[in-house]
């Protein structure tokens, strides 16, 4: 099979493990004389600990130690000159503060760990943690970005962007200016974060982690403890969701490793749900302003896009919030500006779709608003400003089939039922509206390695250190190996999520099928070449044939023009006295990649129902179209897309972490009050794959889709709510109070 052929659907290869409870996540491992850690969090957002009483906790039954800034064992790598990052030494632009867990009495955010209690059972550790008492010298804290937007600073790294005339907006015939707000959203994977740390020797460490990259965790721990990475073994075969929060090693993980060394027992930390809101990142509160100009023919004249996001005082977190605006539409005058404000908050981290999802909400809402002003269909407006080349970098896209995606999605949702005049469709007591939005994300191909082992019995093992946090990486790698070597899917075993396997990048940025898949492709291709070389050499029954005359499928080599002429792989290996053919390959992007802009695209369509009496918005239908190259595993790919819809419904309608700014503390840090989408919120969803191979990116022609599944979705809902009601909600989530405020 080649990339010219569509792939069949196969079941998820780890499905059986997941439905039987046999899949082991980090907290499921059991180690001899393992003890339990519980974190105690600060009760203020800014200030200093004045006193800390740990005596009662120390004396509670089963307690093995109470660790605070007064007795925390050293983390040798952290004694190096201090940079901005809490989990490693790389110096970044100077921040106001430095956060080293349990290293000083200074409090930089609410919930910051002030103690770690260790006991022989989970219950005893939890009880003892409740006995730790602190008093504080409290300082006034700043946690409300909306009050401090003017204090934004330009982060290091990429600066402001502009092309064309800066003042084009002022002379455009039709103009629009609008502010859009995204609240704090929290990844909240179902699996609680934590770590299981086991020192197997004085300098040897075994870690069961909740990480999106075992190699990244290995390196972070090697730096922190000044160890050779080879002495650190990290295992994460199964991870109960990450959505970005597992893309770094968090300070409390490192602290648990240090304490495990001091105590001399394996330690397990499983954080609680409320700690998931403060200690493992979040999507930052971001305010955006878009100014857009167009002419009467529906051509964009200018776009200015400015975004300001919160970060911590101890670390500058940045993301690509304004990037989509630079290249999405043919527009001669574009400028973008990105600022951050340092607050008394814990640091954010990329959350699915990351900044691009934040930015797409603003840009794609504004596109809808402008289309309405121009009296144009929103798809037609996008088509009038369609670009076949990347206007930011002045180079072609490696592939872009967005026109087809608009068309197919529009057909599937029944776009022709949409009325241009808002508020004109009704079904019973409900107002009906249609909305759409575009999503886009970089198609990366990072360096990765993989190993493939073909045995004489015809079975194949594929290995890579990459984790599978849920997208179906193992299933996609199985299909890639199958396509190259023709080994039946049920005879392929993929081993992953362990640092003993060939190095791979962290699972993030929608890059894994492209990166690790290419390495698997190369390793399997090397095996195929070895087989063919053996098959055509002197003495073989296929001797003298040209290599390209041979085909390989189901463990049989055959010659197309000589029907009946066959050689099984097992015969071939036996004759050559081989029990295994073993190849490891490193794979990375070639120089060609510089000549193209590579992106995955998506289009989301929704039909919403809005109740005019209550303001309740329901997503009644959703269609998501992916233009992400060749689809490797259709079933798991479709699941990725429906997952983006569920996440997008939460982002659009319900998700918002609320801070009581008097205390800098969350008031809804649990699943009862922070509403992620549940079954009742999510309708049946239609996913459509354009499924055309990208000719440049990698040998499979596949681009990523984890981010584009979410990017743009919230905008489609906002646009549909406008179409249903005539009311434009520009601050997420679109809760009934906001809809009602505008309806009455």
């Amino acid at each position: 099979m080649t990339k010219e052929t569509k792939n069949p659907s196969i079941d998820r290869v780890d499905g059986r493990m997941k439905v039987t409870g046999g899949a082991n996540y980090f907290a499921d491992f059991e180690l001899p004389s393992m003890a339990y850690c519980v974190l105690v969090g600060s009760e203020i957002a800014r200030g200093t600990i004045s006193s800390l009483d740990t005596k009662k906790a120390q004396g509670a039954p089963g307690v093995l130690g109470v660790f605070t800034h007064q007795n925390m064992p050293p983390i040798p790598g952290w004694d190096a000159p201090i940079g901005g990052q809490a989990d490693g030494p790389p110096p970044k632009p100077k921040t106001e503060e430095t956060y080293r867990i349990l290293s000083s009495p200074k409090i930089l955010f609410d919930g910051q760990p002030i103690a770690i209690v260790v006991a022989d059972t989970y219950e005893r550790a939890t009880y003892a943690a409740s006995l730790v008492k602190a008093t504080y010298a409290k300082q006034a804290s700043r946690t409300d970005l909306s009050k401090h937007v003017a204090e934004g600073i330009a982060p290091g790294g990429s600066g402001d962007y502009s092309r064309g005339k800066a003042d084009a907006h002022q002379t455009a015939p039709i103009t629009l200016e609008a502010n859009y707000t995204i609240p704090i959203e929290v990844h909240n994977p179902m699996e609680l974060h934590g770590i299981l740390a086991h020192w197997t020797g004085p300098d040897k460490l075994m870690i069961y982690a909740k990480t999106q990259g075992v190699n990244a965790t290995q390196n972070a721990m090697a730096q922190a403890f000044k160890l050779d990475p080879k002495n650190i073994h990290v295992h994460t075969e199964f991870m109960g969701g990450g959505f970005g929060m597992g893309l770094r090693t968090w300070p409390q993980e490192t602290a648990v490793v240090a304490i495990a060394r001091k105590i001399g027992r394996p330690l397990k930390l499983v954080m609680n749900r409320s700690q998931m809101f403060t200690l493992v990142g979040h999507r930052p509160y971001t305010v955006q302003t878009i100014r857009m100009g167009a002419d009467q023919t529906g051509k964009l004249v200018s776009i200015n896009h400015a975004a300001t996001a919160e970060t911590a005082r101890y670390e500058d977190f940045t993301e690509a919030t304004v990037n989509m605006t630079k290249f999405m539409y043919a527009c001669p005058n574009v400028s973008t500006r990105y600022r951050i404000v340092r607050l008394d908050r814990s640091v954010p981290i990329w959350m699915r779709g990351p900044g691009e999802a934040t930015g797409a909400f603003a840009l794609e809402s504004a596109m809808d608003e402008m289309a309405h002003k121009l009296n144009l269909d929103p798809i037609e407006f996008r088509l009038r400003n369609y670009t076949e080349t990347d206007p930011e970098h002045n180079r072609p896209y490696s592939s872009k089939n967005l026109r087809e995606a608009y068309e197919k999605g529009a057909d599937a949702i029944g776009w022709n039922n949409r009325k241009p005049q808002p508020g004109s469709l009704r079904e019973g007591n409900w107002l009906i509206g249609y909305g759409m939005s575009t999503g886009v994300f970089n198609a990366f191909r990072w360096e990765a390695s993989a190993r493939a082992l073909l045995k004489a019995d015809g079975s194949l093992t594929v290995q890579s250190a990459v984790t599978d946090i849920g997208p179906g990486t193992g299933t996609a790698l199985t299909m890639i190996a199958h396509n190259v070597l023709g080994v039946p899917v049920e005879k392929i075993k993929v081993e992953y999520g362990d640092t003993s396997l060939p190095k791979a990048p962290s699972q993030g940025g929608s890059a894994i099928v492209s990166a690790v898949g290419s390495a698997v492709f190369d390793a399997c291709t090397a095996i195929k070449q070895a087989l063919i070389e053996l098959a055509v050499k002197d003495g073989s029954s296929l001797a003298g044939r040209q290599a390209d005359e041979l085909t390989l499928a189901n463990g049989i080599l055959s010659v197309e023009k000589e029907p009946g002429k066959k050689l099984t792989v097992s015969e071939l290996m036996q004759v050559n006295k081989l029990t295994v053919i073993d190849r490891t390959k490193e794979s990375k992007a070639g120089p060609d990649h510089q000549k193209y802009s590579m992106y995955s695209f998506s289009v989301h369509f929704v039909q919403v129902r809005v109740n005019p009496l209550t303001g309740v918005v329901r997503v009644a239908k959703a269609v998501s179209v992916a233009d992400s190259g060749r689809i490797i595993s259709p079933k798991t790919a479709a699941s990725q897309m429906i997952g983006g819809v569920a996440g997008g419904i939460g982002m659009a309608l319900t998700e918002e972490a609320v801070i009581d700014h008097r205390f800098g503390r969350f008031v809804n840090n649990n699943f009862a009050d922070y509403h992620v989408a549940v079954h009742a919120d999510v309708p049946a969803i239609e996913t459509i794959m354009i499924d055309k191979p990208d000719p440049i990116i990698n040998p499979m022609g596949a681009k990523g889709m984890g981010e584009i599944a979410l990017i743009g979705f919230a905008g489609a809902v906002a646009n549909a709510v406008f179409n249903a009601t005539g009311q434009r909600v520009r601050d997420l989530p679109i809760t009934p109070d906001k809809v009602m405020q505008k309806l009455v």
Partner: protein, 216 residues
């Protein structure tokens, strides 16, 4: 509030364990009233031994068909008993507050959140976890329950963490008679959160099992 509004408040214990409980309570109270003795006990590590002796209570519960006799602290939840002491880690902890459904198991056929169930309350009960759903129970050779098959077929999961809870809940949802339409399933499955967002596939899986008419 009138007293008779709490008919369930009265402790229902077999006589033997009631006596046992009272004996322990008064001994603990005596200890608490003698602070110097208590401090001394801490210094000598006696508190540990006393705690170990006093804090444990016997529990007999049948889990996946096997009678388990364990000795546990009364504050241990069913979830932590399963995971930390019996090593049945298929049941997952997602919130510890009964808000996510990841820990759903069956107690005497009813779906419950194991994190909100004190293990001691399951005395004499039959508990079924995800490990006990497939017939034969032994890993790869076991025949899967129709709901497990349907979850694989419809890809009703991604990361797999909420899956044991979803499946246990789904089986109960059909048994309760709450799976007559996709809308009804969505309503009665809303206590089980899936952050990967596999909902649409989960509903398909449940509807197929329901319509297939196989015994669940």
């Amino acid at each position: 509030m009138a007293q008779n509004e709490h008919p369930g408040d009265e402790l229902e214990m077999p006589d033997a364990s009631r006596r046992h409980f009272l004996k322990q309570s008064s001994a603990l109270a005596a200890l608490a009233l003698a602070p110097t003795a208590a401090v001394k006990a801490v210094d000598t590590g006696w508190d540990q031994k006393i705690a170990a002796a006093f804090e444990q209570l016997p529990l007999q519960v049948t889990i996946n068909g096997t009678v388990q006799n364990v000795s546990i602290e009364p504050r241990v939840t069913l979830l932590d008993l399963l995971r930390e002491q019996l090593h049945l880690t298929g049941t997952k902890k997602g919130c510890d507050h009964g808000q996510c459904g990841a820990c759903t198991v069956h107690v005497d056929g009813q779906r419950v959140n194991a994190c909100l169930t004190l293990a001691m309350t399951t005395e004499g009960s039959n508990v079924t976890t995800i490990e006990g759903l497939a017939t034969n129970d032994h890993g790869a050779t076991a025949r899967l329950h129709p709901m497990q098959e349907a979850f694989i077929k419809h890809d009703g999961f991604q990361c797999g963490y909420c899956t044991p809870g979803q499946i246990m809940s789904a089986v109960a949802c059909i048994r309760e008679g709450h799976a007559d339409s996709p809308e009804e399933v969505r309503e009665y499955m809303s206590g089980n959160i899936c952050r990967c967002g596999a909902y649409a596939n989960i509903v398909e899986a449940i509807m197929e099992v329901k319509q297939g008419g196989k015994k669940v």
